[in-house]
Amino acid sequence: MEVLERVAFYVMAVLAVISALLVVVNRNPVASAMSLVGAFLAVAGLYLTLNATFLSAIQVLVYAGAIMVLFLFVIMLLNLEREPFDLPGIGRIAGFGLSVALLFSLISLALGAVARPETSARGGSGAEIGDVFFSDYLFPFEMASLLLLVAMVGVIVVARRRKPEEEEEEQA
């Protein structure tokens, strides 16, 4: 079992890193979006190795499902073409250096962390998370639903096509 856990972790970790790199490297936005699905699924696998089964299912449903469909819809709506390749300028070299510095500082921070014994009081199953949400965290739970409602209304207002007379009003 121990070996199996290790293998599962390393496979998922490598998959996550490779697909994340593909998101950044691909010049076609649709290919980037597809690699992002791979990254989300690999993170869902990492949640599974942590025994967070419910969160893993939610990750697949919400991220790999809903959010990616939204991304693909927008990419196809905007009808984008491939980005042309251009030589890296000073800004991009600086950005690269900055993210490499970020990588090393984050990893050194991570390696400095002390691994506590993994003695979780409760597991990550749907029933146990439901227990938490409907007792201690009822208010944040309701606020999340309010947030989603407000976001939905906001999205409709921002993205709707304006009538010509309204645009004239805005210009004036």
Partner: protein, 100 residues
């Protein structure tokens, strides 16, 4: 033995890749995808840490952050659509209205 430190390292790499994409790419959509990647790595740290305390509570935290991410993606993509209607481009270097 896989410990929480291994998860931290993976999350660090994912976060750095997200930052790399955000800084290097010019397509606003791909920049947004990189932000999602960074958000995901933060969630991973949250859940991995929760393993040593109370996984149910940590998962609940992560679940709320997923809900926030879903709302954020909706609003962000709506803004990108509005931006595209206005400018007919998603190139971050051509959207310079706020530049003095």
């Amino acid at each position: 033995m896989i410990t929480v430190v291994d998860y931290y390292v993976v999350a660090s790499i994912l976060f750095a890749i997200g930052a790399l994409g955000f800084l290097l790419r010019k397509n606003v959509l791909v920049m947004f995808m990189s932000v999602e990647l960074m958000l995901n790595s933060a969630n991973l740290v949250l859940v991995a840490s929760a393993k040593s305390f109370d996984l149910a509570r940590g998962s609940a935290f992560a679940l709320v952050s997923v809900a926030v991410a879903a709302a954020e993606v909706g609003v962000g993509l709506a803004i990108i659509i509005a931006l595209f209607r206005l400018k007919a481009t998603v190139d971050a270097e051509e959207i310079t209205n706020l530049r003095g």
